[in-house]
Symmetry: C2
Subunit: 525 residues, 2 copies
C-alpha cells in the first residue's frame, strides 16, 4: 500500500482566507488537533511576516506532538545578497522548526517583472537558500510557486528551478497551482513530466479557483506525487486551498492509498468541525464526507430507498469518516421521513396523526421555520400534535428594557412573570444583552423547581432575516444551540421581533431539556 | 466550436437540498432568470409529486421565454401495467411541457431489490414510457439513474437499459452518478464506452459527494457527452448537484466550448447571486468564479503583486464572468492594501497616518470587528483617523422597551435623544422589533434635516456570536446591509449587547449615506 504524505497549511495559507484570523492560542489548539488526526506536516506560519507567527514557533516547542512535524514557511533569499545575512532565512532558522519550506519563483515572467532580477540569479536564490538551511541541519522542502503557469510559459526554465532545488538538497519539490487555473489533465501531464526528470519526492499544492482542486490533487498523486499540501475544510485565499478532508477520504477510500495514521479516518468529521469552531466560521453543511448534510436524506423516495438499502444513496458508509446518516423533516420528505423521526414515540400506525404532523411542519415552514437545524423544536412539535405535551410553566408576561446614554455601557434588564404549579413567579435579571437577561430572569424563576437547568448552557445564537417576498414585514429566524454534559440540541423561533423569536427558541431549549431529563429518568428507574 | 447543452435542474433536484424551499412564485422568478442567462433546458419539477409542481407547469406557459425549453420530470411507468393508465406519465403529459425527462433504473440490484421486478420488465418499463410520451409528440430525455454503479455491477445490463431508451426514441440518454461516488477517470472511461455503443446524444448528471462533480462533468464532456445537467450554485441533496456555474465557466473559458448564449458568461455572477437570494441561502464567499472572495486579495505580498500584474494571482479576468477584484482589509494585508482602499483620500504619502489606520484596524479586529463585509464602516474609520470625520449628530441616549404578555403581539418602543446643530431632538417610535424601532426613532429625528435618508433601506441584518476563548463574555457582531437607489453598502457593530451592536451598525450606515451624498454633491457642483 503506497503512502501519501499529508502537509497541512491551514495555519499559514489557510489564514489568508477572507474572515479567517487565528490567535496564537487558536494556532496551538489547531496544532494539537492536527497532530491527533495524524497529519504528517503542519506548516505553522511565516515567522518573518508577523510577531504572532514568531511566537507560535517558540510556544509550539512545548507541545508534546505524537506524530506531526512542524514546518516554518518563508521565501528564498533576496536578490544579490548572501543567505547568511538574509532576514527571512534567519527567521526560519531561528524558528527552530525541524522542517523548513521555502517558496521560490518558477515563472520567467514573474522573475523578471515581480522580482526584477535575472533568470540566472533566481536559480541561485533557490539553490543558496535551500543549501544554507540544509547546512544548518534542517529538512528543506521547496514550493515551486506558479509551477503550472510557469511551465506553460517556459518549460525548460521551470524544470531548471526544480533541479536547482533538488541539487541543493530539497527533500520534496512541491508543484503549486498558485492561481488555481489549471485543468486536471494538464496537471497529470506535467506531474508525469516532472517525475521523469527529478529524483527527489514530488508534492502538489492546489487552489480551488475552478472547483477542481480535489480532482487536480488526485490527478497529481496518480501521476506520481507523494505529498499533498492543502488546508482543513479548504479554507484559504479567494476560493480556498484544496480541502484536505476530501483529499484524505478519497485517497484512502477510493484509491486504497495509505494516509495519516491507523484509525485517523474516523476522526475526520470531528476534526473538520473543530477547525470551523476555532476559526469561528460557519460549517458548510454540504461539505463532502463531513458536512451535516453529506448523508442527509430529504426526498421521500430516497428516504424510503435508503432505509431499504443504504448503498442505493450512499457512496460510502458515513461512519468510516466519523459522520452519520440523517433523515430530514421537510415538505418533500413525506410520511416515511416523519415516521423515522418519530420512531421513539411508537406512533407509526396512526396515519391521521402522521398527516397532522406533516401539515403542521408545512405550515410552519411557510412561516419561516426550518426544522433541519432545530431537531429539539421538532421533537416538541410532535409531542404537541400527539397530545404528549404539557407545558412546564405558563408565560404571563415578559418585558425587556435596554437603556444607553453615551457615557456608559448600555444597561439591559429583563423581567419575567410565569405561572408554575399554583404559584406566580415574578423575577428580574440584568444581562449583557436582552437574550442573556431574559435567560437569567427565566432561570431565576425555574431553578429552584428544576435544578438540572444549571447544567444547560447556550452555546450558539444565530439570527437570519427571512425574506418575505409577499411584501409584508420581514421576519427573523433565531436558532439557538444548547448543551448539557451529554448532549447538544438546536431550537428555533420565528417572529417579526428578534426578542420574541429569541424567547421562543429559548423556551423550547429549556422545555426540551426538561422533557429529555424526565424521559431519561423514566428509563433508568 | 462544439456546443454543449446546459440542462438546469435547480427547481427540481436542487429543491431536494437541505434548507431549500421554493414557493411557486420563486420557481417562476428563477425560470425567468435562467432563461435570461440562456440556459437550454429548465427542469421545472415533478408534476406528480406535489400540487406546487403541477401549478408551476400551468403558470409557466404564460411566461414569454426567449430561449429555454421547460422540462417535466417523472419516473418510468409502474411495473406490470400499461403506460396509458399510469398516473405519473399522465401527469407528465398533462403538464404540457415540450420536453419530458424520464428517470429509470440501470442497476440490476436496484431493479430486483427496490422495484422488486425482473430485469426484463424494467427494460420494458423504460421503453414503453418513452415510446408513449414520444407518440404524443413530446421530446423525451432519459435519465439513467445510478448509471456508473450499475455499469460497475453489470455493464451489459446497464447498456441494455440505454439501448431500450434509444430504441424508444429518447433524444438524449443522461448518465447519472446518483450517489456521487465515482472518480473522474472512471467517468471518462465509461462515457467513452457508452458513446461507442449509442447513437443518440449522451448527457452527464453528477453529484458532489467526493468534491469531484465539476471534474467529473468536464471529464464526461471530454469523453463525448454533449449535455450537462446540474444546478445553479450546486444546490441539491447531500453535498449538492454539480455547480453549473463552474461547469459553464470552465467549458467556455478553459476548453473554448460554446455554452448558453452570446454574452451569457458576463451574467453568471449576477445570476448566481439571484438564485441565492431567491432560495434565501447564504452566498458562498469562496465560490469559484462568482463568489465575493473569488478575486479578493488579502496577503500583503499578493496584493502588491496583483496591482503590478493581475495575471500573477488571477487565473481569468473577473469581468469575464461578471465578477470583480477586491482588496481586503486585514492584519495580514499590510500597507499596500490600506493604500489601495484609501486612494480616494489621496493620503498615500502620509506614512505615519497609514500606520495609525493599520493599527486601528488590528485593534478592532482583536475586538471582533471584520471589515471585509463592512467597507462603509472601514471608510468611516479612515475618515476618523485622518481627521476628516465630523459627526452628523450627537447621541445623548437611547432606550428600547419590549413588552409581551401571552395574549398579545409583543410591543416594541424605542426612544432616541440626539443633539443636532444647536437643538436637542427627542423622538419615539414603535417597530416590529428593536432595530426597526430604533431606526424609526432615529429617522424621525433626522429626516427634516436630511430628507435624503428616506431613500435609505436596510436590506439585510445578520448576527454572529464572536466566540471569545479568553473566557470573558461573548460578543455579538452585527452586520447591516443598506441600499439606496444607486448603491449597496455594509456596516458593522460589535458589542456584548445585540442592541448596542445593532445601533453602532445602524449609525454607521446613516453616517456613510450622509457623507457619500455630500461627496457626490461636491463632485457635481
Amino acid at each position: 500500500m503506497k503512502r501519501i504524505a499529508i502537509y497541512d497549511t491551514t495555519l499559514r495559507d489557510g489564514s489568508q482566507g477572507e474572515g479567517v484570523n487565528f490567535s496564537l492560542e487558536d494556532k496551538l489548539l489547531l496544532t494539537k488537533k492536527l497532530d491527533e488526526l495524524g497529519v504528517d506536516y503542519i506548516e505553522g506560519g511565516y515567522p518573518l511576516s508577523n510577531p504572532k507567527d514568531h511566537e507560535y514557533f517558540v510556544a509550539v516547542q512545548q507541545l508534546p506532538l505524537k506524530h506531526s512535524k512542524v514546518c516554518a514557511f518563508g521565501m528564498t533569499r533576496r536578490k544579490n545578497s548572501p543567505p547568511e545575512t538574509d532576514t527571512c532565512l534567519k527567521a526560519l532558522i531561528d524558528s527552530q522548526a525541524p522542517v523548513i519550506c521555502i517558496v521560490g519563483k518558477t515563472w520567467d515572467m514573474q522573475v523578471q517583472q515581480i522580482l526584477s532580477t535575472s533568470l540566472e540569479e533566481n536559480l541561485k536564490m533557490i539553490e543558496d537558500s535551500i543549501a544554507y538551511c540544509r547546512s544548518l541541519g534542517r529538512e528543506v522542502m521547496y514550493d515551486a510557486e506558479h509551477f503550472f503557469d510557469g511551465y506553460k510559459a517556459n518549460p525548460e526554465y521551470a524544470l531548471k528551478t526544480l533541479k536547482a532545488a533538488e541539487k541543493a538538497g530539497a527533500s520534496v519539490v512541491i508543484l503549486c497551482d498558485t492561481n488555481g487555473g489549471t485543468m486536471p489533465e494538464v496537471i497529470s501531464e506535467r506531474v508525469t513530466a516532472v517525475c521523469k526528470e527529478i529524483k527527489c519526492q514530488v508534492g502538489i499544492h492546489c487552489h480551488n479557483d475552478c472547483e477542481l482542486a480535489v480532482a487536480n490533487s488526485l490527478a497529481a498523486v496518480r501521476a506520481g506525487a507523494s505529498q499533498v499540501q492543502g488546508t482543513m475544510n479548504g479554507i484559504g485565499e479567494r476560493c480556498g486551498n484544496v480541502d484536505l478532508v476530501s483529499v484524505i477520504a478519497n485517497l484512502n477510500l477510493k484509491y486504497g492509498l495509505e494516509v495519516l495514521q491507523p484509525g485517523s479516518l474516523a476522526k475526520l468529521t470531528e476534526a473538520s468541525r473543530y477547525v470551523y469552531e476555532i476559526a469561528n466560521l460557519n460549517h458548510r453543511n454540504g461539505q463532502p464526507f463531513v458536512g451535516q448534510s453529506a448523508f442527509a436524506h430529504k426526498g421521500g423516495m430516497h428516504t424510503h430507498a435508503v432505509a431499504l438499502n443504504p448503498v442505493s444513496y450512499e457512496h460510502i458508509d458515513p461512519t468510516q469518516v466519523g459522520n452519520e446518516r440523517r433523515v430530514l423533516v421537510s415538505e418533500l420528505s413525506g410520511r416515511s421521513t416523519i415516521l423515522t423521526k418519530t420512531q421513539k414515540y411508537d406512533l407509526h400506525n396512526d396515519k391521521p396523526l402522521m398527516s397532522k404532523i406533516l401539515n403542521q411542519v408545512q405550515d410552519l415552514e411557510n412561516d419561516g421555520y426550518e426544522f433541519e437545524a432545530a431537531e429539539a423544536s421538532f421533537d416538541l412539535l410532535v409531542k404537541k400534535v400527539a397530545g404528549l405535551y404539557k407545558p412546564w410553566f405558563d408565560l404571563i408576561a415578559y418585558r425587556v428594557n435596554i437603556e444607553h446614554d453615551k457615557n456608559n455601557k448600555p444597561i439591559t434588564e429583563a423581567t419575567v412573570k410565569i405561572g408554575l404549579a399554583d404559584k406566580i413567579l415574578h423575577t428580574v435579571a440584568e444581562g449583557d444583552g436582552p437574550v442573556n437577561a431574559l435567560d437569567g430572569a427565566l432561570r431565576k424563576a425555574l431553578l429552584s423547581s428544576f435544578p438540572q437547568l444549571s447544567e444547560l448552557q447556550l452555546v450558539d445564537y444565530k439570527v437570519r432575516v427571512v425574506n418575505n417576498r409577499a411584501g409584508t414585514a420581514a421576519k427573523v429566524r433565531v436558532t439557538i444551540e444548547s448543551r448539557d454534559q451529554g448532549d447538544v440540541w438546536g431550537t428555533i423561533g420565528v417572529s417579526e421581533n428578534i426578542i420574541e423569536a429569541s424567547w421562543l427558541a429559548l423556551v423550547d431549549s429549556i422545555e426540551y431539556k426538561l422533557f429529555k431529563d424526565k424521559e431519561a429518568g423514566a428509563k433508568t428507574n
